[in-house]
Amino acid sequence: MTIRHHFPDDVLLSYAAGELDDAMSLIVATHLTLCPACRKVAACADEIGGVMLEELPPTTMSPDALARVLARTEQTVDAADTPATDTTAPGFVLPGPLRQRLGGDLDNVRWKHIGPGVKQYVIARRDNGAQARLVKMASGRKAMTHGHAGEEYTMVVSGAFSDAGMAFTRGDVEIAGTDVVHSPIADDNGGCVCLVVMTGRLKFRNVLGRIAQPFIGI
């Protein structure tokens, strides 16, 4: 399935520049795993970084810097320096960056009910910027109509959903800014699991949603 809904270039450029916060970096890295087209854009942004590094005026290193690095090249590499081998069982669902953060695949997620047919798991709290969470919606379930105080990025990791007549499948990203009020509907055939990153709080249209909001942490 080809991905039709991508990240805009300025987000990919920010990812390459290293200026995205943790939650945004997580969703971008997850998308890049599934999207060759955005990988190409991100690779070009890295090249810009390479050229800019090359053109920086050099700063003199400390006198013993090279000697110290050479001495350390002699040492054997600590176990901590080598990436842990992927112990995920075959047949996993989640892309690597998400598996790594969760320490396992989708079947290890400790879901929390937040409404009828809707569960979530908060991955990154908003302390250091945006919030990242996994949201699971049962077949045909409609999300409560909401607007946004910031930007909301919703990426399908499993299943599908539709919103305002557009279909979103694995890897697709829906971006909703402050001007968007919407209520995505999970696919009739198996629902969906999405990685959702929010840079600001949701604004629910109905009273129930506003009352529940502080308790479910969104």
Binding site: P8, D9, D10, L13, S14, A16, A17, G18, E19, D22, S25, L26, A29, T30, L32, T33, L34, P36, A37, R39, K40, V41, A42, A43, C44, D46, E47, I48, G49, G50, V51, M52, L53, E54, E55, L56, P57, P58, T59, T60, M61, S62, A65, L66, R68, V69, L70, R72, T73, V77, D81, D86, F92, P95, G96, P97, R99, Q100, R101, N128
Partner: protein, 239 residues
């Protein structure tokens, strides 16, 4: 053009390449390095004199050094690469707010990672400067945050592979790096500013907007426009 901190302008390698023979390029590079008078450059210069093939100044040269490090664990090659890149990585760290000691340490860590991961460097995919930039960027983020930066893993079994590209669409690495460099120097000042601020000031787009006193949308559109120009220059523009 390469602008030095004191406003001195050196001939860009780019300009030199466009016109000169390989030997002239080498001489220009040497003259430039020796003129700068910094000890680490004199050392690098001496290496260059001794061996025609050793130079970290060009994509081809640096790629060759990377190959020698990966295949032969060639320490001499590493020293030349270190002399060129460590002082630039240090500048990068300083620009992004590290103090001198931390910037020095992060530059050392970056070059150590270059040595240790040399086999993973894929010269078909990136220029050494690009690869070293990504290592420096990630080490910086990991040093400042408690969590490891979420990164794409090219060996992830979940990775959706790239479509096969026709051979004639693959632009040579060296040409690509040169094209990016040229496209960047052709950006308007306004566009160049937002790109530079993004990479070197660790500012979110909204803070860049405040600093430049323009709306957030303007920052984003300048970035997109600048990026589109660069991508067009390397032949990525049309998909």
């Amino acid at each position: 053009m390469i602008r030095c901190r004191k406003g001195r302008v050196l001939p860009s390698m780019n300009d030199v390449f466009a016109t000169a023979s390989p030997r002239r390029v080498r001489d220009e590079v040497l003259a430039g390095l020796l003129a700068m008078g910094r000890p680490q450059f004199r050392d690098a210069g001496a290496q260059l004199m001794a061996d025609d093939t050793v130079s970290a100044e060009t994509v081809a040269g640096a790629t060759d050094l990377m190959r020698r490090i990966a295949e032969d664990k060639d320490r001499q090659a590493f020293e030349v690469l270190f002399a060129h890149f460590a002082p630039r990585v240090k500048s990068y760290m300083l620009k992004l707010g590290a103090n001198d000691a931390l910037a020095d340490e992060l530059a050392q860590e970056t070059l150590l990672a270059v040595w240790r991961k040399a086999e993973k460097f894929d010269r078909a995919k990136a220029a050494p400067s690009t690869w070293i930039f990504t290592i420096a960027r990630n080490l910086r983020i990991d040093a400042y945050r408690k969590t490891v930066r979420p990164e794409l893993d090219p060996n992830d079994p979940a990775l959706v592979p790239d479509p096969e590209e026709p051979q004639d669409h693959r632009v040579d690495r060296l040409q690509r790096a040169e094209a990016v460099r040229r496209a960047m120097s052709a950006l308007s000042d306004e566009q160049a500013d937002v790109v530079r601020l993004s990479f070197f000031e660790d500012l979110s787009h909204s803070i860049i907007a405040e600093r430049l006193d323009v709306p957030l949308g303007t920052v984003k559109s300048r970035l997109r426009l600048a990026f589109a120009k660069i991508r067009e220059a390397v032949g990525d523009g049309l998909q």
